[in-house]
Amino acid sequence: MQLRYLTWPLLAVGLLALLAVPFFPQVVYIVFVMKALCFVLFACAFNLLLGHTGILSFGHAAFFGTGAYVTGHLVKTYGLPTELGILAGGLVAALLGAVIGALAIRRSGIYLAMITLAMSQLVFFFFLQAPFAGAEDGLQRIPRGTFLGVLDLNNDTALYYVVVGIVGGGLWVVWRTVNSPFGHVLRAIREHEPRAISLGYPVARYKVLVFSLSAGLSGIAGSLKAIIFQLAALYDVHWHTSGDVILMTLLGGMNTVFGPAVGAAIVAALNHYLDPFGAWVTVIIGVVFMACVLTFRQGVVGELSRLLNRRRIAPLRQPAGRRTRAHH
């Protein structure tokens, strides 16, 4: 478990790098980092379900987009303060998550994925038709407002630190959830659901709860995106976004807490930096995904931690391996 020793130093370096971003505009563009951070939170929240509970939701865009639209509408039309808008976006998404989750967990595996997909299509249709959402033009010109009434968010640097703070808080919630008794029960459900039931855990309730938590955090990610770009668009609720988050999670490594964060950063960077290739972008990204899926089965972070572990454990294990082979 060598990666565990590296976790804290790596996190510290990552955090320092994040805090330094506004001072190096020539290296990386600040709004791009904010966008990537939204997807980092989204992917980590999604992985609460996929990686830690073993539930594949194929409709997470519904929560992400609901967060974006709710925040956008409340802030734009009703002049709600930005921080309350984001909170409301998260809450509505969590509520929606509880409803969709309660329906979806009645089945498992592919059927569950199909139910979530169907429900998210309903949500998509709602935002396509709802008069306030502006159909394919989206909800435009959402004011950024101020944070807690003091910090002017029209300043990118101020907004950036607020985004880092909220995403950091969201990731802490994910980390805390995974490493709590609640998280252990989730893992028990993932590994052996009948056994978890026989031990007396109300599995369904746990599933709905984690579904709602994951949806709420996804909603906050969407809310942040709406504030950053000052718009909420149909793409946020489109099933493509549900697919994107699955790819991010698989690419980063679904058996790790922060693997999806790395996956999200990679996908965002690919989309951003490959732009000059024009029509070839989709082809290049497709090839990159194929290569990743074929070569890093456990995702970038999963594979990295396996490599580090192997180097350490290999000398101990090898003789044992030979012995077993000799028996056959």
């Binding site: 709004v31 791009f32 966008k35 033009d137 024009g278 029509a279 972008v281």
Partner: protein, 410 residues
Amino acid sequence: MSAKSPIKAIALSSAALAMGTACSAMASNGFSDDVVRIGVLTDMSGIYTDLSGEAAVEAVRMAVEDFGGEVGGVPIEVTYGDHRNRADTGASRAREWYDSEGVDMINDLSNSGVALAVAAVADERQRHAIVNSSSNIGLTNEYCSPYVTHYTYDAHSLAHGTGKSIVEDGGDTWFFLTVDFAFGVGLEEQVSEVVREAGGEVLGAARHPLNTTDFSSYALQAQASGAEIIGIASTGADAINAINALSEFGVSPDQRPAALLLWYDDIESLGLETAQGLLLTNAFYWDANEETREFSERFYERTGRMPNMAQAGNYSSTMHYLNAIEAAGSDDPDAVSKQMRELEINDFFAKGGHIRPNGRMVHDQYLWEVKAPDESEYDYDYLRLVTTIPGEEAFQPLEDSTCHLLDNDE
């Protein structure tokens, strides 16, 4: 992305950011960072690739070359990007261009969601954006800005072009096949208003989802309505499929389809056999006169296709922007905006065109009819001019615009 040394780019962008977001690093000669950069933000991988895409970039490049490659002694650079029909992608690209890459003007902007989002960024960052290939009339109404120009066409010009001319021509009863999207529904409403004002009657509408492939039931509804004119309020693949279905189901002889936004390229996809007799409003047709032919043939040599109205608009608007810079002697966005709205546009694309305070470029629109196959004498000979619609009639009257810039003037 244009070729430039990374060190220079870093120096420029850091300088630009250090000076803040508005007009940055103004050099003594009046040109920000000693270069005029034009960004073409377009669809390079999605449904509008054919309508704008790389050909749009090429049109802007042609304008820059024809202008001489430099203005006021500083070079002009062209860069491009793909918004992938996602408003957030478009907005973030635009922000980055304005903030850290010193882009002075963004052109094309297909997809109205993207156009609105980029117009918002342009207004906030006080840099120019010129919309050529989307129709949303909000750009010159509630979302107008001194830095945003809506150049080629809009929903109003389409509605008034086709709708009014047809009713005057005797097409009194209408039925719509509408794509159930803000664009289609808005267009249907605009045309219905025009039809009613002109004394016509709207008998009904059938709304279909985006990317419908089977139009048979809609075609039958249109047939059953008995309307003389079947208005097709969609564009691209949907319009093509709808027209194909109407042609297959054989609308009765006294019924006639009218496409409300049909592109030159769509006629090519449909083929003259199917498309013949269709009426369409376009701001430009390559074969209209000597000047348009001259431009279009040069364009054809570079891209292998004839320009449509958006691509011609990209060229013309870039030219106009550069002329305005030259007249202002600076690329300061406010000075350029003032010149752009003062100078008249006289080129192959528009005669006596002018830009109103709300950003609407007013120029003549044309109603065309698609020729029958045996009338087409040479390659790309598709359209016949029916009537010219003067710009003042085609576009929304200024007093109807809700643009906030107009209140200030009064």
